[in-house]
Amino acid sequence: MDASPTEAAQVVNGHGQAQVVPAEELTRLTYAVRDLPAHAVQDLLSVGCDTGMCPVWCIFRLFGVHECICSCSLMPQSTLCSILAKSMDLEGDTMVNGVRAHEDSSSVHSYQEPDLVAKCCIICLGILQFVYIDHQESLVKTDCPYNFALTIADVVKQQSYQLDNFSLEVSLPPIVTENEQAVWLYMKRKHASELWYQEKFISERILTKDVLKLCITKPLETLLGVKAGVSSSRIRLTYTHLDTSVKVQNTAEANQSNKKRKTGMLILLCQPHTLYLQCDISDCLKSLSEKVNQPCLLALLCNRSPIYIGGRYLKYSRNVSQSRWIVDDERIGEASVEEIIGSNILPFCRGDNYKFHAAGREDIDVKVKNLKVLGSQGWALMHEGEAEKQVYFSLCRQAAIFENLYGPFLLYFLQKQYAALVWIPRSLKDDDVQTISLLKDMAILQRTPIRVLHRRSPLEREKIIHWMKVERVAGSSQYFLLHLCTQVGYDLFFLFA
């Protein structure tokens, strides 16, 4: 009945494994395994033998053996199989149940055959055996979680990611969940009345996805030298099952009984408890065994959430627009601030792409029009005036409030300063200069300009012009520079639209 540490170690040596597994871990594991309800495990194994159920990891997780999953990342499948088999075998001997003893011996027998170990599990489709098809469509077998983690870490390092921490994401094909449901159903029907089932099984069984995370997170942390947790850097393992889609299609075309089973399983997913009774046990496991248990295709993707870079710029050229400006496939302007900044930052950060969020408006070519003055004659001067304008941000008079909104921050500049080159049909008089400079905090009503009317609501919006200043242009009486300081709203620049 006792499986001493030395015995366990011998098992390891007996299989010729050179892996260094601490003896105490083996002991712990052995004890943990021995605590499992032997007859249930044996029963499951006996079914699994015929159909190719994942021998170790699925058993562990179905019975909720957390410690094993966390600690035995270095142990090869075969070792775990032996421990399980040995433990079960020993206990089986103590039981006076011929049938079970017989099943035991068969399962022990099977585990000594390495090719059976490698056979793809019908529940997890090899995911917990760390068997998968890589992107080059070749079958990859790793014998323990550590080695699997090693391949992941290699890929991450190859892509020269440097991480502060990482979060692991696993995506499994739906068929795995379906299989899980079927096994749970089977267990429930068979062992629902037993004490261990009520006490432990329901609460402690672990999902395939969680097992995979549990057993490779630790090794990954060691290999990458950073901690796992909530992080902007993500390592994503996407398992897809190629045969599933084919199978589903086939099922749909095939006979009705197949169809029924399929829908039965699907409804089961939605309402497992109510439908347990309607489904036959043998049907569940039969459906599992009928499925093509091919390993899944694994796609490994590393990415990180976007980095937000905020800043201000002064644009000294009119030939450069703010964002890329293309009209009818024809480029306008030499370059854009968006591209100039983006093309420098992108290789620097090695991102896939970049997005430019402009705060504030700026136009290559803006005109005064659509303007209505509230209680002031000062704008009569501007009314007719139009010319090209250069607009710029005031560097020093901005009050910026950063807000965290849906990830990217937003910038609110409360005041903005512009300079406009204005032309008026008559000569500029000193009176005009005086009149304009006296206007303070003038409220204006502005209708949605035609320029943007196609995509904005037609409204009149009130804006405030804090002050204006005329700067004469040498050599011209009709051109002048108008400096404006205005309230900035979401659409301030409509002043010049």
Binding site: S160, S305, I307, R451, L453
Partner: protein, 229 residues
């Protein structure tokens, strides 16, 4: 430089008081740092204020020699103008200013018969029998309440001293707005029919526009037509 260093760089940048780049992280814990950086910026600006102002002044100052004596008007540079001469009735010349975004501004062309009358236009009435065109308020970016009109739908009646003329859409599309200032200031039509004296703004569908465009004359063609007659 690697990904993980991005945030470090942000801190360095802020400490060095270099303008232009500060990096905000989406993490909550970064908030305090962000605020600190923002507060740091105005101080740095004051030092460079003089230089910046000077540079800006130089850059903004235009060279009069390079400027045209009179720049093109907003209408000229933002719109392409088409004409519908003798629309439905002889002498009813209308223009269509088409913006690059597809909107069409409808108005009376300079050759319209109403302007040839003594005193020109005296009043404008948007009440054209069935409904008052100025009474319908289009709202929202989806342009709720916008009425869909055919090219020959009447927009308003323009009165002169002894007659009235019906102004029509010319283009099939949704009526976004009419120029309500014409009700109080009908003289805008006489002084600047091309600009403040527009009658309405219509949003045609792209396909409808192509059909309408085929029936309209370009500025050049209209000029030739009116010069000849």
């Amino acid at each position: 430089m690697e990904l993980q260093n991005a945030d470090d760089t942000a801190h360095n940048t802020a400490e060095n008081h270099q303008p232009a780049v500060s990096i905000s992280a989406e993490q909550q814990q970064q908030d305090d740092n962000s605020k600190a950086r923002i507060e740091a910026i105005p101080a740095e600006d004051e030092d460079e204020d003089e230089d910046e102002e000077e540079v800006l002044r130089r850059l903004l100052a235009p060279d009069v020699a390079n400027l045209p004596p009179a720049p093109p008007s907003a209408v000229e540079s933002n719109f392409i103008t088409y004409f519908a001469p003798d629309f439905i009735k002889p002498g009813h010349d209308q223009y269509v200013h088409r913006h690059a975004n597809g909107l069409c501004v409808i108005g009376l062309a300079s050759g319209h018969v109403a302007f040839k009358e003594n005193g020109g236009v005296t009043s404008v009435d948007f009440n054209v029998g069935k409904s008052d065109r100025s009474g319908i308020k289009v709202t929202g970016k989806r342009k709720r309440n916008a009425q869909h009109f055919e090219p020959n739908t009447a927009l308003c009646k323009v009165f002169s001293n002894d007659a009235y003329y019906i102004v029509r859409c010319c283009v099939k599309g949704s009526l976004l707005e009419v120029n309500e200032s014409l009700i109080k200031q009908p003289k805008l039509l006489n002084s600047s029919a091309e600009r403040e004296g527009y009658v309405a703004i219509i949003m045609p569908k792209p396909t409808d526009w192509l059909k309408a465009k085929a029936s309209l004359l370009s500025s050049e063609e209209y000029k030739n037509l009116r010069d000849a007659s």
